[in-house]
C-alpha cells in the first residue's frame, strides 16, 4: 500500500481548498440572485392576477394594471424581430457561404463584433438622429423597433453563423455535384438543416428586446398612453406606445406614492416573460441537440 508523504498530503489539501474556494465563488454568484428573485416574486404575489394584465394603468399610474405597456412591449418585440431576423440570417448566410477568407470579410466580422459592443444609449441616440428626425418617422413604434432591430442584429448574425457552420461541408459538396447552384444548395440543403438552430437564436433575442429600456425611451416609448383594453390591435405603426421596461423605470423612479406592489408586479411580469422565452429557447436547443443525426 502506498503511504502518503507529508508532501502528498499537502498537495491534497491545497487541491481540496482550491476546489472549495472556486465552488464558493460560483455559489456566491448564483445564490443571492435566486434569493432576490424569490423576494421579488413574494412582494409581487398579492397583485398578480388576470386583472393586472388586462387593465390600463390608472390614477397617474398609481393603480390599475399593465395592459398598455405589456401590449407595447409585444409590438416592439415582434416588429423589431420581423426586421432584424431576415437581415441577420441573410448576413450570416453571406458570411458563412459566400465570403472568402480575405480582408473584406475580416472587416465585416469586426463590424459585427463592434456593433454588438455599442452601448444601448448610443443606439438610442442613433435611433433618434436617424429614424425619428432624419427619416421623419417621429417618435413611433416603427422608429423604436428599427432601433431595437439594429441592436439585436449582431447577435442574430453570430448565432445563425454558428448554426450554418454546423452543417457538414459534405452535404454542400454532394449538392453541388448533382449540378445545383450555390443558392439552390443553400435553399434546399443548408437552410433546412440549420433552421432549428437559427430559430433558437432568434427566439433568444425576444428576451433581450423585451427587456431593453434605453434604446426605446427617446425613439417611441412614452411614459403614459391610454389604449382600449383587451384590443390587441390597439396600437398602430406610427403611434407612440408604452413598454414594460420603461413602465417599471417610470413607476419606480419618477412617480411618487406608487403602491409598493405595483412596481414589484411589473418587474416580475417583465422578468417572467424574459426568463420564460429563454427557457423555451434552451429547451428547444437541448432537444434538438439530442436529436441531431450527424
Amino acid at each position: 500500500m502506498f503511504i502518503e508523504t507529508p508532501l502528498v498530503q499537502k498537495k491534497k489539501r491545497t487541491e481540496a481548498a482550491a476546489k472549495i474556494v472556486f465552488m464558493l465563488m460560483t455559489i456566491l454568484m448564483i445564490l443571492p440572485l435566486l434569493l432576490i428573485l424569490a423576494y421579488l416574486l413574494y412582494k409581487a404575489f398579492p397583485i398578480l392576477s388576470l386583472d393586472f394584465f388586462i387593465t390600463n394603468p390608472k390614477n397617474g399610474m398609481r393603480a390599475g394594471g399593465i395592459w398598455a405597456p405589456f401590449l407595447g412591449t409585444m409590438y416592439l418585440v415582434v416588429i423589431s424581430l420581423l426586421i432584424s431576423a431576415p437581415i441577420g440570417v441573410l448576413a450570416a448566410v453571406y458570411l458563412n457561404e459566400y465570403a472568402g477568407d480575405n480582408w473584406f470579410t475580416r472587416i465585416i466580422n469586426l463590424a459585427v463584433v463592434n456593433l454588438a459592443g455599442v452601448p444601448s444609449i448610443v443606439h438610442a441616440l442613433f435611433g433618434l438622429g436617424a429614424f425619428v428626425l432624419f427619416a421623419g418617422m417621429g417618435r413611433s413604434i416603427l422608429a423604436a423597433s428599427l432601433t431595437l432591430a439594429i441592436m439585436t442584429l449582431p447577435v442574430i448574425i453570430a448565432s445563425t453563423k454558428e448554426s450554418l457552420a454546423a452543417v457538414p461541408r459534405a452535404f454542400r459538396e454532394a449538392c453541388w455535384n448533382v449540378g445545383a447552384t450555390r443558392w439552390q444548395t443553400i435553399r434546399h440543403i443548408v437552410l433546412p438543416n440549420s433552421i432549428s438552430g437559427i430559430l433558437t437564436g432568434v427566439i433568444l433575442q425576444v428576451s433581450r428586446t423585451a427587456g431593453e429600456t434605453a434604446p426605446v425611451m427617446f425613439t417611441g416609448v412614452v411614459f403614459f398612453k391610454k389604449i382600449s383594453e383587451g384590443d390587441i390591435f390597439a396600437y398602430n405603426l406610427f403611434d407612440q406606445c408604452m413598454a414594460l421596461s420603461m413602465h417599471l423605470f417610470t413607476i419606480s423612479t419618477q412617480v411618487p406614492d406608487v403602491p409598493k406592489a405595483l412596481p414589484y408586479g411589473t418587474a416580475v411580469v417583465l422578468l417572467g416573460t424574459v426568463l420564460l422565452v429563454n427557457a423555451l429557447s434552451i429547451t428547444l436547443r437541448v432537444y434538438l441537440r439530442a436529436r441531431k443525426k450527424w
Binding site: 448564483i30 421579488l40 441573410l90 459592443g117 455599442v118 431593453e212 421596461s245 423612479t253 414589484y264 418587474a267
Partner: protein, 297 residues
C-alpha cells in the same frame, strides 16, 4: 417547366445581391451609427465647444441660466469608479466560476451551471436597477450607516452581477480552447489539479481570460438604466465608495428627454455619445485582437 426555369435564372442574381447587401449591412450600420450621432452633435462640436474644458472640467451645469458649463470629467470619474469597482468584484468571481465550471464539475453539472448563467445574463437591466433601488439600497444603508444607499457601491455590485455571466461564458470558452493534451501531460507528471490549473491552464488561456475581462469592462461602461437607477444623481468626483455619482450613460438617459432638439445641451449629450462610442469601440477592438491572438498561435 421552361417558364419556371427562366424565373429561377432571373431570381437567383436578385437573391444573391440581397444576400451580399445584408452581408455588408453590419459595416453600414456601424458607419451609420457614427455618422448620425456625429451629425447631431457636430454643430456644437466645431463651433462652440472648448474641448479642453469639456474633458478636464468637473463643472456640469447645462441648465444654468447665466453661465452654462459643460465639463464631463466628473461624469467620466463616475463611469470609471463604478466600472472599476464592478470589475474588482466581477473579474475574480467570474474567472473563479469559469474555472470551477470548466475544470471541477462533472459534465452534467457543467451543463446545468451554463444554463443558469445564461438565464442570469437574460435579466433585463431595468430589473437590475430595480433590485438596486429596492433591495440593495436599504441593505447598504443598514450595513454601512450611509445616508443614502444609491452610490458607487450599489452601482458597482449591480454592474458586477450583470457582467459576471459574460465573463464566465467567455472565460469558460477560453479554458475549453486549451487542448486536453496539456491537461493530461501535466497530470501525468504528477501535478495536482490545482497545480495544473495554476501553472498550465491559466498561462495557456490568459489571452482569452483577458478578453473576457475586457468585454466585461465594455459592458460596464455602456450600461445605462441600471446605473442610472442605482448610483444616485450627484455629479461629482467620488471620494469614497459610499458617494453617489452620475455616469456618462446615465446623464444622456436622464437629460435628453428634457432638452429641446438641436439646443446646445442636446448637442453636448450627442458629443458624450460619440465619446462613449469611441471608448467602447477601442475596448472591443482590443478584446477582439487579443482573442485573434490566441487563434493565430
Amino acid at each position: 417547366m421552361a417558364n419556371q426555369r427562366r424565373l429561377g435564372n432571373l431570381s437567383e442574381p436578385i437573391i444573391e445581391g440581397l444576400i451580399r447587401l445584408c452581408g455588408i449591412s453590419a459595416i453600414l450600420f456601424v458607419i451609420g451609427i457614427f455618422f448620425f450621432v456625429f451629425r447631431e452633435g457636430s454643430g456644437f462640436l466645431f463651433s462652440k465647444l472648448n474641448l479642453k474644458e469639456f474633458l478636464t472640467s468637473i463643472e456640469w451645469y447645462p441648465d444654468s441660466p447665466s453661465n452654462k458649463r459643460y465639463g464631463v470629467l466628473a461624469l467620466m470619474a463616475g463611469t470609471a469608479s463604478v466600472t472599476v469597482l464592478a470589475m474588482m468584484i466581477a473579474v475574480p468571481f467570474g474567472l473563479g466560476a469559469a474555472i470551477f465550471i470548466s475544470e471541477f464539475c462533472s459534465r452534467r453539472a457543467r451543463e446545468t451551471f451554463k444554463i443558469v448563467i445564461e438565464l442570469l445574463a437574460a435579466i433585463p437591466s431595468v430589473v437590475w436597477g430595480f433590485i438596486g433601488l429596492t433591495v440593495m439600497n436599504p441593505i447598504i444603508i443598514d450595513l454601512f450607516k450611509a445616508p443614502i444607499g444609491l452610490n458607487v457601491l450599489n452601482g458597482g455590485i449591480i454592474l458586477a452581477l450583470m457582467s459576471v455571466p459574460i465573463i464566465v461564458s467567455i472565460g469558460e470558452d477560453a479554458l475549453k480552447a486549451v487542448p486536453d493534451s496539456y491537461r493530461e501531460a501535466s497530470l501525468a507528471l504528477g501535478a495536482t489539479r490545482w497545480q495544473m490549473i495554476y501553472r498550465v491552464l491559466l498561462p495557456a488561456a490568459k489571452n482569452g481570460l483577458l478578453a473576457a475581462a475586457l468585454l466585461g469592462v465594455g459592458r460596464g461602461i455602456g450600461e445605462t438604466i441600471a446605473v442610472l437607477m442605482a448610483t444616485g444623481h450627484a455629479v461629482q468626483i467620488p471620494h469614497s465608495i459610499l458617494d453617489p455619482v452620475r455616469t456618462l450613460t446615465a446623464t444622456i438617459a436622464a437629460e435628453l428627454g428634457e432638452t429641446p432638439v438641436r439646443s446646445d445641451h442636446y448637442q453636448v449629450l450627442f458629443i458624450i455619445g460619440i465619446l462613449l462610442f469611441s471608448i467602447t469601440f477601442v475596448v472591443n477592438l482590443v478584446a477582439d485582437l487579443v482573442v485573434k491572438g490566441i487563434r493565430g498561435k
